[in-house]
Symmetry: C2
Subunit: 324 residues, 2 copies
């Protein structure tokens, strides 16, 4: 492929992508047909895949570092929700001819920043030319054998926890779509939350104590319902406990956004997890040690449905994009 007359594929690999392999010998310095993974004893390799497309998962003119942030964050969030920590990733880049040096520089700078922050490397991938940007990535993480978290372990009376704040990205999207208007500071704050969400890397730290876990990519209600439906369980949530930022609370109070929006949409990439009440002290200690905000918002009940302050929530059956 030739992205354009100035930028050949080999140029992109040499100038922008090679540095992302962090000189790991597993990558053969991108000179081989494939790469390999060395996994530690007693660890399983956890795999997740995500694809993001221009005009669907991001806007055409979104900053390149926001697009980089998105493909990494949605994958790291899945790795964390499995109780794993990241190790390496592949990157399939389908890029239009209009992509230039500056775009690639900003895009890969963000990748490298996140790689260093969370300690993983680029193991391989491929490049193609396309009309629109399509980025696909597989992530590999390690989880302790027998300690992989999944969606199926919640039991009645287990407590429901959320990491961080929720609904921030949803507000940013509404601003981006010009559906709400906020003052300069709020606008900047929430747009930033939309363009540069962070995942919560708490999953591997609580894999011994949590009974189930999922990351919030489709919204709190939708993702919580995934933890419930296989076992015909329900959830009782106390609205007063829900972790909204001060800014988001003000918007709710001023009726600029509805609480329902914040609970049913948004790519916050925080975790919902459940745990037996007997583990709550341990979990709180681990969160404090790692400086991670966690909030207990309710508990699992043996009656189907999600109940917010005892009122049953009607969940619109969103299809989801991800099958592992």
């Amino acid at each position: 492929m030739k992205i354009n007359s100035q930028i050949s594929e080999q140029y992109i690999i040499n100038k922008f992508l090679k540095k992302l392999n962090l000189k790991k010998k597993e990558t053969y310095n991108f000179k081989n047909d494939a790469a390999f993974i060395k996994n530690p004893k007693n660890k399983h390799i956890v795999i997740t895949t995500d694809t993001i497309l221009e005009s669907i998962d991001f806007f055409k003119n979104d900053p390149p570092d926001s697009i980089a942030n998105k493909i990494i964050t949605c994958n790291l969030s899945d790795i964390s929700s499995m109780g794993a920590y990241p190790y390496a990733y592949t990157l399939s880049l389908c890029l239009p001819k209009t992509i230039n040096n500056n775009w690639l520089k900003k895009f890969t700078k963000k990748l490298l920043y996140l790689q260093k922050k969370y300690n993983f490397f680029l193991i391989g991938g491929d490049l193609s030319e396309s009309k629109k940007i399509v980025i696909s990535s597989s992530f590999f993480g390690f989880a302790s054998k027998g300690k992989i978290l999944n969606r199926l372990g919640a039991l009645t009376n287990h407590e429901i926890w959320i990491t961080g704040n929720i609904g921030e990205s949803a507000i940013g999207l509404k601003i981006k779509q010009k559906k709400i208007k906020l003052n300069y500071n709020n606008k900047k704050y929430f747009l930033n939350k939309y363009l540069y969400p962070s995942h919560c890397s708490f999953g591997d730290k609580i894999c011994k104590y949590a009974s189930s876990s999922i990351d919030i990519s489709d919204g709190f209600y939708g993702d919580l319902s995934h933890l419930l439906k296989e076992k015909n369980l329900g959830a009782s949530i106390n609205s007063k406990l829900l972790p909204f930022s001060k800014r988001a609370k003000d918007l709710i109070l001023n009726k600029i956004v509805k609480i329902n929006l914040l609970l049913s949409s948004g790519d916050d990439y925080q975790l919902i997890f459940t745990a037996s009440p007997k583990n709550s002290l341990k979990i709180k200690r681990i969160a404090k040690k790692n400086n991670i905000k966690i909030t207990r918002v309710g508990k699992i009940i043996d009656r189907k449905g999600i109940y917010l302050d005892n009122r049953k929530i009607k969940i619109i059956n969103k299809s989801f994009q991800h099958f592992a």
Copy 2:
């Protein structure tokens, strides 16, 4: 995503994709954020990624089973060239609204056929809607620790081998592009080689005896040069030994195709490998036992360049699409 009003994403997963996980517990039946790999002791996990795009890697109206064949074959070929055997794969499907039940049925039927033939399963992936078909897949295979084949091990005087026949797919493409006209039987034969190439799963069987290996995806010359350039080596090839099918030989003799075309293009997905002459008997025995055609076509020399019957070949510097 909703492919169209009849076919929701959940419908595609349930009706077409779930059966591809072969009920492996590693996949959590596609109900989790990620999946996991259990690797045998003494094995490394080998990873490769390939993306194929409509209008670039295949034609819009190519049969769906040919597109399925393509994404699987190009990946299995990379796995084999690493001396590994396949274990599992992820699939990111970006599909237009025009895709219907019949397309999906034929596409996934071929996937299942190849999975059963070569013994691997679908471990996860995602679905998106797009204007054109874009399919990205990561493959995972196992290779014996310390026995992973790569491109870098060839030494002077090592023999150069090819599996199967070469140039078959290139002729099929010329027919498809209406650049050559052949009789009905030849047309059918070569179009079939283009639409449904098979990889050669010989790599894992000779990983102890080969010194380097690569799959032929960019053409014999281009891929052979990858085995040479890192070490400033060359290759001496005897044109009489090159493995062309009887049909291809007839076309060369009748000047319908040039030998240079067959050696510089085509997605045959056969392997080129090198080995010390002392291993040739062992390699021949393994090939015979596995009923795989192999041909010794020349040897590595300490003079840069590829020489066909002692004449230096000018290789057009094709950029390549794959960085691991």
